[in-house]
């Protein structure tokens, strides 16, 4: 148990995590401004505290800057100005803490494997990222990361001030994003929370207007899911293979087999009905297009998504016309927010102290974070007349710009500029949103994450069963009356109950330890 709680503590150090743009500011705008204006004095403060620790920056035997190798996941093609970014950031970091950084670009889908391989072959890597829900756990399960408790104690206070408090306010809203024009035409309400009936009515009208080759609800892929966009399920930092909790855990800490719930059965019945009526494409589980592309093609108008402020404006840009958020449930802060993207220090790192100090700089220095996100002012972006809102320079757009950080990772998002079409209002709206989150919307188990290593045999088998049945059930492609009993049997045979029991036991222990 000792071991487990240490990892749970690491999950807390996942406060360093930044998952979404809504990660938001510190406590309030004021805090934020202070950070911006007093940038120099703040870093001075950092220097002082470092001196108090008897450790000004990072000392190396020859006085040369210590080199930190940091993973940089990218999506699509790598932008050409990597070296320029590195140099600009190193100029700051060498002066501040005597550390220079080498970026290690890793294609998004290879991040996990590459990092694991580097650690196992003892290649130099000082800062790595656990990404997505399972990514974070995998690295810990495989014992590839060191616990950060001590380092966090020593250097993390400032990060906590900027980022930590707001993490609990990182609410997400599950729902759907739809074309505004279509919602107006088919009478879909985007002002209020809605449910199955309202959507069904709009789908019927949409189908009537476009009988051939039009399937209003865009879902696609052999891993598609729909249930979680209607219900708030907290997976407790693991996968649905280890069960989940409804209603953010306020109704009790009992972990349930989500697939065996009445809600799930009802949902699959509804999906099957929609599928039969042609609201969902018969090829849903086999097609490989992005859901957004199905909408751009004009064969659908709504798709399941997170629907926070910036998601909608980003999608509007993508669609080339106005998009709106359809909400099915209120906002919620799940345990998963701590596991979106976590900075970790690999077991093979020579100087974790230096790596952590660099991390701290990424979170406290406004210039560092904006260089990493947007590049160099004047070359990759220009300031607009609105405060902290930027845009591409004349003649450059998203494809031709020499630098981008498409995955939106790294550092203090609170200190980051935002791109047009967002306006300065966004910062206020974001603060309002963050401050509006009530305790009821927060999971009481924030910081808990289930370590699946203890049940890895069952976990693997259950994962496989889920891959086999889930997409076809949740896309309505199969009749749940026939398939559901089969699915539940297979899950039990594979050992889902063992997984859930282990998760429950570890959660109970965690709750006990929090008291």
């Amino acid at each position: 148990m000792m071991k487990k709680s240490r990892w749970a503590a690491l999950a807390l150090a996942g406060i360093l995590v930044c998952g979404t743009i809504l990660t938001g500011c510190g406590d309030n705008g004021g805090n934020n401004d202070a950070g911006g204006q007093n940038n120099s004095s703040e870093t001075g403060g950092a220097g002082n505290s470092a001196e108090n620790d008897g450790n000004a920056g990072v000392e190396t035997p020859d006085g040369e800057p210590y080199e930190v190798v940091m993973s940089f996941p990218y999506y699509g093609t790598l932008k050409p100005d990597l070296q320029m970014i590195e140099d600009a950031m190193n100029e700051i970091s060498v002066a501040e803490i005597n550390v220079k950084m080498t970026m290690l670009p890793l294609a998004m889908n290879e991040v996990l494997t590459q990092q694991s391989l580097m650690i196992s072959s003892n290649e130099k890597l000082d800062l790595m990222l656990g990404m997505r829900q399972s990514g974070f756990l995998e690295l810990i399960n495989k014992k590839m990361a060191i616990p950060l408790d001590e380092l966090f104690e020593k250097y993390g206070k400032e990060i906590e001030e900027i980022q930590g408090v707001s993490m609990e306010k990182m609410a997400r809203i599950r729902g759907f994003i739809a074309l505004k024009s279509a919602c107006d035409a088919y009478g879909l309400d985007y002002e209020n929370e809605i449910g199955y009936e309202e959507m069904e009515a709009a789908f019927a009208k949409a189908k009537e207007a476009n009988p051939e080759g039009y399937y209003p609800l865009a879902i696609a892929g052999s891993n598609l899911t729909t249930f979680e966009y209607f219900y708030n399920v907290d997976l407790l930092g693991a996968d649905i293979a280890c069960g989940g909790i409804f209603d953010n855990g306020h109704a009790g800490s009992e972990i349930r087999n989500i697939f065996a719930t009445d809600e799930y059965m009802e949902h699959c019945r509804k999906m099957h009905e929609w599928y039969e009526k042609g609201y969902i494409s018969p090829d849903a589980t086999t097609r490989s297009e992005m859901m957004q592309d199905l909408i751009k093609n004009g064969t659908a108008f709504i798709y399941p998504s997170w629907t926070e402020l910036d998601m909608v404006s980003r999608q509007s840009r993508g669609f080339g016309e106005d998009a709106v958020a359809i909400t099915t449930q209120g906002k919620s802060v799940n345990t998963g927010v701590y596991q979106g993207q976590c900075w970790m220090i690999p077991v093979t790192c020579e100087n974790p102290d230096a790596a952590f100090q660099y991390l701290k700089l990424l979170y406290t220095n406004e210039d560092m974070i904006n260089i990493l996100y947007y590049g160099i002012e004047g070359t990759h972006y220009v300031l607009t007349d609105q405060d902290r809102i930027i845009q591409y320079p004349e003649g450059i757009d998203g494809t031709s710009v020499g630098w981008s950080n498409a995955l939106g990772l790294f550092g203090a998002i609170a200190k980051r500029y935002e791109m047009v079409p967002l306006t300065s209002d966004y910062f206020t709206m974001r603060d309002e949103f963050n401050n509006s989150i009530t305790d009821a919307e927060k999971s009481p188990y924030l910081g808990y994450a289930f370590n699946t290593e203890t049940v890895k045999t069952e976990y693997a088998a259950v994962t496989d069963v889920i891959t086999q049945y889930r997409a076809s059930l949740e896309s309505g492609s199969v009749d749940p009356e026939v398939v559901m009993p089969e699915f539940l049997n297979a899950l039990e045979a594979a050992g889902i109950n063992t997984c859930i029991e282990a998760n429950q036991k570890s959660l109970n222990e965690w709750i006990e330890a929090q008291k």
Binding site: L112, I119, T285, T286, T467
Partner: protein, 312 residues
């Protein structure tokens, strides 16, 4: 006794005589050791509770713990059945179709024509599975597929959701496999065929043998060693499957699993979420061991039947 005494010096001379030849083989052997034997050391991972802090060798042993998930699935039997049966079909029909096409091609006269047919048959082999999977999808997609729209619709039949109906897939997969791989198998047999001296056939013709008699009594017996070698090698992979074929072509449609899922696909799906090195090497070790046993048994049977054709 005296016999032994005579033999000993002779053996020494033999060794000495062959040393230059072994020397020639040295680069190849070194390559084999580095490339094929050193990595085998990785087998230990399958029996370890891998801990990167302790390193590979110092991690704790965990017995067969990593193998358990392979048999955990309710469908373990179906998965094994699929893997083995598909391979059996591929081996048997691979031989028959490969030789048939090779003989047909051998009968084609005219260099240009031979080159043309050879290329046409070989091209699918050079395509990636992902490309092939889209071709198959274009044919069988429920919404826009060729079969549903251009064949079933004009005939007035109901469209079929191909990716939801497991019963069609053994036929589809077998067809796609041969469509893609036939070119390569054929080339191996064909290269053997053109090596057969035309004198045999001329003599047979003079004696009045028909085409069929020529094939039966000259071609097939001369191809026998190749057939046996290829079959034994294929038997060694009987527990493995072409991941591209079984994963990409059915587009990982869960409904099709009863007829499309093989061991490799199961391992991929099971470990996709937890990325476990030890468990994936366990799967490879399992496949390799079963394959090795199959090779030994097959070779043993052949050695009993006709010793000169056995591999070892």
């Amino acid at each position: 006794m005296s016999k032994v005494k005579v033999k000993q010096p002779r053996k020494k001379i033999r060794w000495a005589r062959y040393i230059p030849i072994y020397f020639l083989a040295l680069p190849g052997m070194i390559y084999l050791i580095i490339n094929n034997y050193l990595p085998m050391f990785g087998i230990v991972i399958a029996f370890k509770d891998l801990d990167f802090r302790k390193g590979l060798l110092k991690s704790d042993w965990c017995g067969f713990e990593n193998f358990k998930y392979l048999f955990r699935s309710k469908d373990a039997l179906i998965i094994t059945r699929n893997t083995v049966l598909y391979n059996v079909v591929f081996i048997i029909f691979g031989v028959i179709l490969g030789i048939t096409v090779a003989i047909l091609l051998n009968e084609v006269r005219g260099r240009l024509k031979v080159k043309f047919f050879q290329s046409v048959i070989l091209i699918p082999y050079l395509m990636s599975w992902v490309v092939v999977s889209y071709l198959v999808y274009a044919v069988f997609s429920a919404e826009v597929g060729f079969v549903n729209n251009s064949i079933l619709k004009p005939m007035g039949s109901e469209p079929i959701s191909w990716y939801m109906e497991p019963k069609y897939w053994p036929a589809i997969l077998i067809f796609v496999h041969f469509w893609k791989s036939l070119g390569f198998t054929m080339v191996i047999y064909y290269s053997n065929l053109i090596g057969i001296s035309p004198e045999y056939y001329e003599a047979a013709k003079i004696d009045g043998a028909t085409k069929w008699q020529q094939i039966k009594s000259i071609t097939l017996p001369l191809l026998k060693p190749t057939i046996i070698t290829l079959t034994i090698l294929n038997l060694g992979r009987i527990f493995s499957s072409d991941f591209g074929l079984f994963y990409q072509i059915p587009r990982n449609s869960g409904v099709l699993y009863p007829t499309t899922r093989t061991l490799d696909v199961y391992v991929y799906n099971a470990l996709m979420k937890n990325n476990d090195f030890a468990m994936s090497s366990a799967a490879s070790v399992y496949q390799a061991v079963v394959g090795f046993i199959f090779i030994l048994v097959a070779n043993g049977i052949i050695r009993k039947m006709s010793e000169e054709n056995a591999l070892f």
